[in-house]
């Protein structure tokens, strides 16, 4: 597990000492690397009002400058990493962080997700100076870190109060969601990760928590922060894949996915191997697949979206002549998945898009004739689906209505629910389903105008393909959306056709214990053509690796017209835990983010409104790729649709854990006290005191802002920045 130091001060360069500052920063970064840290964040502090000029201008250091400072660094780095049990090939990452000092709550109003300046930084932290701003920070602000800096001595320093403050902090957070960072002004104040953890132990943390505060918590913080930043509403990755690449997808693309780096800092990643080789005067190509800058890709897409004409040049596909209504399958069993496709006439393009892309991915060698797709066949397919009985799990599509209700609305509805099943219905069905049988989950998905619909179009196409390919009728066709973990894949199921979207969903859901089931997912003939997501389903990917982070193709949201889905680009969207913030902020967001943890994500009432299409579209274009979150060892992988299965669907709860709520003002005062470390030995006494009556009833989840402890190694005092 890598160690991170998320606060290396960055001072804005003024002409005079910019070179010096930069050199210091470089030295700090090099030293951190040498000490065994795997990532640093350059922190820039601003107070007051943000302006456009405050956009991130922190330059990440390339390998060359590192080597200039310390040419033989790689051997030293290797040494330390080996001792710290960090894999030596971990790249060294650099991030940018912004700390906003907030004095009065009004100043913090800029800290919402819409602020473009904030978006240019990887991590956003808020430093409240007053009680109220602290409260607000905990509740409202869209930040990753809440840091309290006692350096400015705004609070009275009294030893017993300080002791109480430390003890309070420890009790309160129990060490969860705290991170330590150095804020070291010079190299001499940087300490190794284990040393920092030991200091935390003296404050009352257990060693395990202390180590986590330097490593695991930071890492999860980074994952969430980067997800928010880079991926537009939980879309993981959007890639343009030319049609010619389709055939390779199964084989080649897969490995690519596995290498995707969820906390990549883009250009900031420095590979150790490169360093060693550079030292030996050679260089090596970086092989890691970096996170894709979603925004730039989206920007590159035409605003009207990609119509089928643009995309499909070779494939012969007949555009949908008319809207197709796939009535709900008549399946009386618990399967509540009914594939209900309502395609608006104006939605033809996106579905076509999808379908085409899906078609393209099919390596059947025969062109699926769209013309054959008609309602009847769809029905038959549905019935085939319906025929899946006996514990066959039906992927549930979580339905989210788009903002434009008239849009394509493909949903799986319960057999009982016909036609356009309204979302609530679906949800009820889902909840019932959930209650009754964990396997069948129907998730209706409402296709938003844009790309999302694309994915849904896949379903009918999938179904039809099934039909066309003469799949046995007992091959279940899982709707793209696969619901909660509980569904899992029923082992007893026979062939399972996982649409790509399903796969993507599966991946997300099948994390952790659920992954076990993947082996059972057999790829039907269709699936063989389906990209990796399906294939991935067949793999026994270890938990840690399978996190399909489906993002909401909320690009669709912004695009009334179908967009975002580049040709053959499928956006796998999965509710991610990181999307909580977004959910909160986007009123109409109906992204279903499922958090495995106790975050209070709810499926927002957007179900009724224009919520974003839920992302469970793994399929869609052939380029559908299921992103895997690597190395996430904890079960915090969000299970996006879990919430859907609970009855409290339409409540919107603030995402942030209500850390502040149970605290009284006295306790707050304690928290604000600066901590001097003259009485470190009071550590034991802290432990003896009875726990405070406050109830941090909701433990801070990862998505909640982390409390940052900044240890500044000033003489004789350790300033704990909570």
């Amino acid at each position: 597990m890598g160690f991170f130091d998320l606060n290396i001060p960055y001072t804005e360069s003024n002409k005079r000492n910019s070179a010096g500052d930069k050199a210091t920063r470089l030295k700090l970064a090099v030293k951190a690397m040498e000490l065994g840290y795997t990532g640093v964040a350059y922190n820039r502090t601003i107070t007051g009002v943000m302006s456009e000029a405050d956009r991130c201008s922190i330059s990440l250091f390339p390998l060359s400058s590192v080597l200039k400072v310390s040419p033989s660094i790689s051997s030293s780095v290797n040494l330390h990493r080996r001792l710290l049990n960090v894999p030596t090939s971990t790249p060294f990452r650099q991030y940018t962080r912004l700390s906003v000092v907030v004095d009065i709550p009004a100043q913090g109003s800029a800290l919402n997700s819409g602020n473009p300046v904030l978006k240019t930084y990887d991590i956003v932290a808020v430093r409240p100076l007053k009680q109220e701003s602290f409260d607000q920070a905990c509740k409202n602000y869209e930040v990753d870190i809440i840091s309290i800096d006692f350096l400015e001595n705004r609070f009275r320093l009294k030893q017993p109060l300080i002791k109480a403050a430390i003890e309070f902090l420890v009790d309160w957070t129990r060490g969860k969601n705290l991170i330590f960072s150095s804020a070291a002004p010079s190299v001499a104040e940087l300490r190794g990760p284990y040393d920092v953890a030991n200091l935390a132990c003296l404050l009352g943390f257990s060693m395990e928590r202390a180590k986590a505060a330097v490593s695991r918590t930071c890492r999860s913080l980074l994952e969430n922060a980067l997800r928010k930043k880079k991926f537009y509403k939980e879309a993981i990755r959007v890639e343009l894949i030319s049609p010619t690449e389709q055939t390779d997808i199964e084989g080649a693309g897969f490995d690519d996915w596995l290498k995707w780096d969820p906390i990549s800092s883009g250009d900031g990643d420095l590979q150790l191997d490169d360093m060693a080789k550079s030292f030996a005067a050679s260089s090596k190509e970086l092989k890691t697949v970096k996170a894709i800058d979603f925004v730039s890709i989206i920007d590159g897409l035409p605003s009207y979206g990609l119509h089928i004409n643009d995309i499909i040049s070779e494939t012969k596909s007949e555009p949908y002549g008319s809207s197709r209504d796939l009535p709900a399958a008549t399946k009386a069993n618990k399967l509540t998945a009914v594939y209900d496709v309502h395609i608006d006439s104006k939605m033809h393009d996106p579905p076509e898009n999808d379908q085409t892309s899906v078609m393209e991915t099919l390596e059947k060698g025969h062109q699926l004739n769209y013309g054959n797709c008609d309602i009847s066949s769809a029905n038959e397919t549905l019935e085939a689906l319906g025929s899946v009985e006996g514990g066959e799990t039906c992927a549930m599509l979580i339905e989210e209505e788009t903002k434009i209700p008239s849009n394509l609305n493909i949903c799986f509805s319960c057999p009982e629910a016909e036609q356009l099943n309204p979302q609530p219905e679906v949800y009820e069905a889902i909840s019932e389903e959930h209650a009754s049988d964990q396997k069948g989950r129907a998730i209706s998905t409402a296709l938003p105008t844009a790309g999302i619909s694309i994915t849904f179009a896949d379903n009918p196409s999938t179904l039809q393909c099934n039909e066309a390919n003469g799949l046995s009728s007992d091959a279940p066709i899982y709707p793209p959306m696969i619901a909660s973990n509980e569904i899992g894949l029923n082992e007893s199921c026979g062939d399972r056709v996982l649409s790509v979207s399903d796969a993507s969903l599966y991946e997300e859901f099948l994390e952790g214990e659920h992954m076990r089931d993947t082996g059972d997912v057999t790829v039907s003939p269709i699936n063989s053509s389906l990209p990796l997501s399906v294939a991935s389903m067949n793999e026994d990917v270890p938990e840690e690796q399978l996190t399909v982070i489906a993002g909401d193709v909320s690009v669709a949201r912004s695009v009334e017209h179908s967009t975002v889905i580049a040709e053959d680009v499928s956006v796998c969207t999965l509710a991610t835990s990181g999307s909580d913030d977004e959910l909160q902020n986007n009123g109409a967001n109906s992204v279903v983010h499922e958090l495995l943890e106790d975050s209070s994500m709810e499926v927002h009432g957007e179900l009724k409104d224009h919520s974003q299409m839920n992302h469970l579209y793994g399929h869609g274009s052939s380029s559908e790729r299921v992103r895997r979150k690597q190395g996430s060892s904890h079960q915090s992988i969000s299970f996006p649709f879990k919430r859907l299965l609970k009855p409290s669907h339409f409540k919107k709860e603030p995402k942030r854990a209500l850390v502040c709520d149970p605290l009284s003002s006295d306790e707050y005062r304690h928290v604000r006290l600066a901590l001097a470390l003259l009485s470190l030995s009071s550590n034991s006494s802290c432990r003896n005191q009875p726990p405070r009556p406050h109830a941090a009833t909701q433990p801070l989840t990862e998505e909640n802002p982390n409390f940052v402890l900044n240890l500044k190694f000033c003489p004789f005092t350790l300033l704990i920045v909570i």
Binding site: S75, L79, S186, G192, D195, L202, F279, L678, S681
Partner: protein
Amino acid sequence: MVGFKNRYMVMEVFVDPNKNISKDDPIILSQHNVSKAIKDSILINFGECGLASSLGSFQVKYLNHVTKICIIRASRDEHQKVWAAITMVRSIGNCPVVFNLLDLSGNIKACKSAALKCEDLKFEHLKLVSGAPRTEDANKHLQNLERIKMLEH
């Protein structure tokens, strides 16, 4: 049985971290130097009581001023405080230093093997930094390894 337990910490010292790499050390480390600096730090951070309680088992068992590896022993009860105090050492004499823990073990045997490994790696690193190794350096290195092996609790 043995009731009294110790902890052995293998640490490396970064002398004058701000300096240019190739310059010579502004200070020569010795066991006495390091020990004094650590004791001062304990006194400052933990008071006289802390110093007194940790002084019983505190000893710098081994120090190599070239590779900057040192082995410090502390009692098990106090080792965390001692470790924290070591972390907070800012300077030895006039020269800023940074301590970094490499390994922590409960017996001298494990400590020795860890120290040997660290010494070898560090020596390799130094060779890379300073170019071709001289024979005397290599000899010294071997001598140091021997010294480590001769350590007793």
